[in-house]
């Protein structure tokens, strides 16, 4: 017997399965000191202990049997699971826009295998059509799986490949691009593509889901419908993130790739535009433009693809009494750019000054962003700010910390000249720094206040 037939079992649990010749997917009768249990032996997650055997019983539930209680096991049958998702041919039509869907690894749509509990991703057009048939009413979809990585493992290499692939699709005549992506670093990728693909004639929409698509109340299908609409029919030819507006199944927001941030670990409406309003709302009926100034869809195929990135860039989240040796170490290990996430208007303690001076002298570019997330770095207000600017620390206005990190990596990929770097960093691209913050750019309501409670009750969440 090869170990493959004991999928996931280790140690003592594996020993006992071997002793009684019972395989994973085997029908087993397990006699224990707590009575007899019947069911199919399921694979076990490798991170779980070696003291239990997992059984799916006739009613569909899973249970675990404590191996200490097992007296005897008999395999009475065997049926191996077979994962396969049914494909239905995607109904293409000439009068619908052509949208290219890139996969990066997250599950956009999926199907459940009830027998095993496995979630099988749906990705090919046929599979997608089987899972979200409404897509066929919106556009023609062509898909391409670029990587198979989790969101947290996306990085500069993937950004570059994505940018080039988008460039190719633009040239090929696509009417819109949708990128399926895990949500944790969705905004990092959105920022990267905002810099690497500029002046695109078509919308580039990043989309994910906060509840996996195997759940009946998942936001995945609706997000995908909204994203496909925005990509195929929308007039905003920018890099945008498309996710739930409210937590209710009502409408999606389109957020600029340089101004968006994941703000809650689990809410559906986790993505928010920071320091501004979202670009638009989206439903399957159309876009509701919020920001009147945007780049319109064009017929031409001209786009600038700048797929560069220098990985020697880091981000430093400041805390009180931070010591200079951290910065010294970064400089000594070859980092060329540091984004500081400072307090208040953009401050760090005096103890860091010598290290910052040393960094400047060694040609390391240091920029200041804010822990407050909202608002501008104003380093002229206090002496400390002015002192730091004298040490070469450059405030980045209201650029978000993650966006600044991406932009610096992208910039350093093009030049190592500190002046040139500073110039690129301070030149606004796709609203990464805005000239003015609208009065409704900062809205964080606090529960408990009667007016807010009244609003929430009336307009839902």
């Amino acid at each position: 017997m090869s170990d493959d037939i004991f999928q996931g079992y280790i140690g003592e649990a594996l020993e006992i399965l071997k002793r009684f010749s019972v395989r994973v997917w085997g029908q087993a009768e397990i006699h224990t000191t707590r009575g007899t249990f019947d069911g199919t032996v399921l694979p076990r997650s490798e991170n779980d202990d070696d003291q239990h055997i997992v059984l799916k019983i006739a009613t569909g539930y899973n249970i675990g049997i404590d191996i200490v209680t097992i007296k005897k096991m008999v395999e009475t049958g065997y049926q191996k699971a077979n994962y396969k998702i049914p494909e239905k041919e995607f109904p293409y039509s000439d009068d619908k826009p052509n949208v290219k869907l890139f996969g990066t690894g997250g599950t956009i749509a999926s199907r459940l295998d009830y027998r095993t509990g496995a979630v099988i991703p749906a990705f090919s057009p046929g599979e997608l059509y089987g899972a979200v048939p409404e897509l066929a009413d919106i556009c023609n979809i062509d898909t391409e799986k670029l990587f198979a990585v989790f969101s947290e493992n996306m990085g500069p290499d993937q950004y570059k490949i994505l940018a080039k692939s988008i460039g190719k699709e633009i040239a090929n005549g696509a009417d819109g691009i949708v990128i399926g992506h895990g949500t944790d670093t969705l905004h990092h990728t959105a920022a990267a593509l905002s810099y690497m693909v500029q002046d695109s004639p078509i919308p580039i929409i990043l989309v994910g889901s906060q509840r996996s698509s195997d759940r009946p109340s998942s936001d995945a299908a609706l997000n995908l419908i909204h994203a496909s609409y925005a990509a195929g029919h929308g007039d905003i030819a920018e890099t945008l993130v498309c996710m739930f507006g409210p937590t209710s199944d009502e409408y999606g927001f389109l957020h600029r790739g340089t101004r968006v941030r994941k703000m809650h670990s689990s809410y559906r409406s986790t993505f928010r535009t920071i320091g501004d309003t979202p670009a638009a709302t989206v439903t399957r009926e159309g876009l509701g433009i919020i920001k009147q100034q945007y780049k319109h869809r064009r017929k031409d195929r001209a786009a600038k693809i700048i797929p560069t990135f220098n990985e020697k860039v880091t981000m430093l989240y400041y805390y009180p009494h931070m010591q200079g040796d951290i910065i010294d170490t970064l400089v000594d290990t070859g980092y060329k750019g540091i984004i500081i996430v400072g307090t208040g208007l953009g401050h760090v303690n005096k103890e860091l000054y010598p290290a910052l001076e040393r960094a400047r002298d060694k040609g390391v570019s240091v920029f200041m962003t804010l822990q407050t997330i909202w608002g501008y770095a104003h380093m002229f207000v206090y002496d400390t700010g002015r002192d730091m600017m004298a040490l070469g620390v450059v405030p980045l206005g209201n650029m978000l910390p993650e966006v600044a990190w991406v932009k610096l990596g992208w910039t350093l990929g093009q030049t190592e000249d500190p002046e040139e770097i500073k110039k690129i960093m301070l030149t606004p691209i796709n609203d990464d720094i805005t000239e003015r913050e609208p009065y409704n750019g900062y809205l964080v309501y606090q529960g408990g206040v009667p007016e807010v409670e009244g609003f929430v009750r009336k307009f839902r969440k």
Binding site: T32, T33, R34, G35, T36, F37, D48, D49, Q51, H52, V54, I57, A58, T59, G60, Y61, N62, I63, G64, I65, D66, I67, V68, T69, I85, P86, K88, R111, L112, D113, Y114, R115, G117, V119, G130, A131, R211, S212, D214, R215, P216, S217, S218, A221, L222, P246, T247, S248, D249, E250, H264, S266, Y267, R268, G447, E453, V456, R457, R460, K461
Partner: protein, 664 residues
């Protein structure tokens, strides 16, 4: 068909299938139709918190007490064969907007599926394992949280988190053993506020409260056995003293079938006393459907070449528009007339008391096509909407044959295609027999269609929760303090001589432990305390308003007080009503309020001589018996609690005898 004929046909078919009312049904009737039934008993656990979040459990709100609303839709997920399964398809057809009302006191972000589950509530898990042990189930070694899909929206995630704690147990009823399939712990669902058209509204106060579900094998062969099993499980759950009681805390799903019928689940029966009537009617409903299948076969109809036809009635056909129909068009609704070949006599076929086969269609139209009732009339309506002439005009226009039946249905334009599909689908099911479905129950013992019965293919592991190991030591420690088996309790009460008419009450209120502690600690007999609780206390409970501070421990304290003050225990009967309404009053004040004063027997007996004199003075022909009765009446209120009345009576008799002798 004329209305009178339809009524006649309803009665004739009722007779043809051999329907007997529940009161007259004998065991042989159930044997004849092959009655078979099982139970799924839901019981809320008395815990501080909900099961997977730390919201308080047991806080309920009125429908309009909410702080926010969230809207969701449930999407069917593909099943094994790449097809949507029955329930999923139905729920998707209904295209419901589901609104959840949230109140900050009873719900957090977990309830609306915006936060993953927290660790399972330890208190709930322990109670549930105790009940599993009491139910003689084989306890699992590791608890796996599973997701069970519900697409009706009653749970915002679209699935219920549930886990098996034990499998294969048994209960000993009076005459038979009932086998248990399993016991699971799960989170309770939302409470529905309304379901009108395409809008369904739920409140989330009950959502997530810990619940156990005990599932029996379909071992019950009569409605009485079913009721007995339901009572047994209720008593067993309550015997732990760790479950909730009151409205909605215990709910039964009753699975019923008749021979060659199908499993039909009657959902959420709130009172055990409804179970016999509901299961009785359901078994006969299936029996009636099988008769319809036979009639269809006898008429030579075959599903593959049989088809309904329909035509729309609009403003361009004034000759067909009776005012009742014109009114529908004026409301902006569409009207469709349907001809059903060779179905004459089937629409008014008996189903349940007051329900015909047509009701199966009416209720599906409401649930699946979301068209509110009244949504149709038909050629055999027991309460016809149209006059016979008006209906005949439409029948002729449809070019219907004499043996055909007709339906006229109306509803919003967008819902008409689903309505037509629903009608055709249900009619075709009549060719096969009894569709598997869940049904909603009513107090009159009838049920209506609720939804298609979901398959077992709707379970999958909850990837948000790790398995929870249950060590042998942990399970054994929970097994140490279990209450006594319910079957044993019955024997015990019999042995104590507690009157049988109190047994159910004592068990359902879990009062045996109270009886035991009062008797053990103060030496009263079980029979006396049992009767006191089962008769006297129950009577007070039925007549008076219970104060919120009243609890059963007050009764324990009452008997302790009676013992310590050396009162006669019969005084409890007079003190109890006061304590029930004013539990914060001191016992001494209670005694004052019933005009009690501590007296010795001599003190009480002292005026007897004088009183007897009075009696003889005012009575023309004094005899001993009336003398004794009159004397008892004069002094018994002073004697209460001080002297046993029987003892007092003996003393008075003796006194009267003495007095008589001294006078002679």
């Amino acid at each position: 068909m004329k209305q009178t004929e339809a009524v006649k046909n309803y009665e004739a078919t009722k007779k043809a299938i051999g329907y007997v009312p529940r009161q007259k049904a004998k065991a042989r009737d159930y044997k004849r139709i092959g009655f078979k039934s099982g139970l799924e008993v839901h019981q809320q656990l008395k815990t501080k918190s909900k099961l997977f979040c730390r919201c308080p459990a047991g806080i309920y709100h009125a429908d309009d007490e909410f702080d926010a609303e969230v809207i969701r839709h449930m999407r069917p997920t593909l099943s094994e064969l790449g097809e949507y399964d029955g329930t999923a398809l139905m729920e998707f057809k209904t295209r419901k907007n589901i609104t959840y009302r949230l109140n900050n006191h009873s719900a957090c972000t977990y309830e609306v599926d915006d936060t993953p589950p927290f660790h399972i509530d330890e208190e709930a898990l322990k109670i549930a394992i105790e009940i599993s042990l009491l139910s003689k189930l084989n306890i699992v070694g590791e608890v796996h949280i599973t997701r069970k899909q519900y697409l009706d929206g009653s749970i915002p995630t679209g699935f219920q988190r549930t886990a098996i704690l034990g499998v294969e147990g048994e209960l000993q009823l009076k005459k038979k053993k009932v086998r248990l399939i399993q016991l699971s712990i799960e989170e309770d669902s939302c409470r529905e506020i309304s379901d009108i058209g395409h809008e369904r509204i739920y409140k989330t106060d009950r959502l997530g409260m810990p619940l156990i579900e005990t599932v029996t094998h379909p071992d019950m062969e009569t409605p009485d056995e079913l009721a007995e099993a339901a009572e047994y499980i209720r008593f067993l759950n309550r015997s732990t003293g760790k479950v909730r009681t009151g409205m909605g805390a215990g709910r039964e799903d009753v699975n019923v079938s008749c021979a060659r019928g199908s499993r039909v689940e009657i959902k959420g029966v709130a009172h055990n006393k409804w179970i016999p009537e509901l299961s009785h009617n359901e078994a006969f409903r299936q029996w009636a459907l099988l008769n319809i299948r036979k009639l269809i076969k006898d008429r030579g109809l075959q599903a593959n070449n049989w088809k309904i036809s329909h035509r729309e009635i609009d403003f361009s056909m004034p000759e067909l528009l009776a005012p009742q129909l014109r009114e529908k068009l004026d409301q902006g609704l569409k009207i469709v007339a349907i001809n059903i070949p060779k179905f004459n006599g089937l629409m008014s076929h008996f189903m349940q008391p007051g329900h015909t086969f047509a009701h199966e269609l009416i209720h599906r139209l409401k649930v699946i096509a979301c068209i509110e009732r009244p949504n149709m009339t038909h050629s055999e309506d027991l309460n016809p909407l149209l006059s016979e002439d008006d209906f005949t005009r439409i029948t002729k226009w449809l070019k219907a044959g004499k043996k055909d039946a007709q339906i006229i249905l109306w509803g919003p334009e967008n819902d008409i295609p689903t309505a037509l599909e629903t009608i055709e689908e249900r009619l075709l099911m009549a060719f096969i027999g009894v569709p598997e479905e869940t049904r909603k129950s009513f107090a009159d013992g009838t049920t209506i269609f609720e939804r298609v019965l979901p398959g077992s293919d709707r379970m999958y592991p909850d990837t948000d929760s790790a398995p929870i190991p249950l060590s042998v030591e942990f399970i054994d420690s929970l097994g140490k303090n279990l209450p006594m088996d319910i079957a044993e309790r019955f024997k015990q009460m019999k042995g104590w001589g507690i009157p049988e008419d109190t047994w159910k009450y004592l068990l359902s209120k879990n009062m045996i432990p109270l009886i035991e502690s009062i008797c053990d600690d103060f030496g009263y007999t079980h029979k006396f305390i049992g009767s006191f609780l089962g008769h006297t206390f129950k009577n007070i409970e039925g007549k008076r308003e219970r104060h919120k501070n009243f609890s059963l421990t007050k009764i324990y304290r009452l008997f302790r007080y009676i013992k310590e003050r050396e009162l006669v225990p019969g005084i409890a009967k007079f003190m109890m009503p006061v304590i029930y309404e004013f539990p914060d009053m001191q016992f001494s004040s209670v005694l004052t309020s019933i005009h009690f004063r501590k007296r010795s027997k001599a003190e009480i007996m002292a005026p007897v001589e004088f009183l007897y004199e009075k009696f003889r003075e005012h009575t023309s022909e004094p005899d001993d018996i009336s003398a004794i009765n009159w004397l008892m009446g004069q002094i018994h209120s002073q004697a209460l609690g001080n002297v046993k009345l029987a003892e007092l009576s003996t003393d008075i008799q003796r006194k009267v005898k003495q007095e008589n002798q001294s006078h002679e």
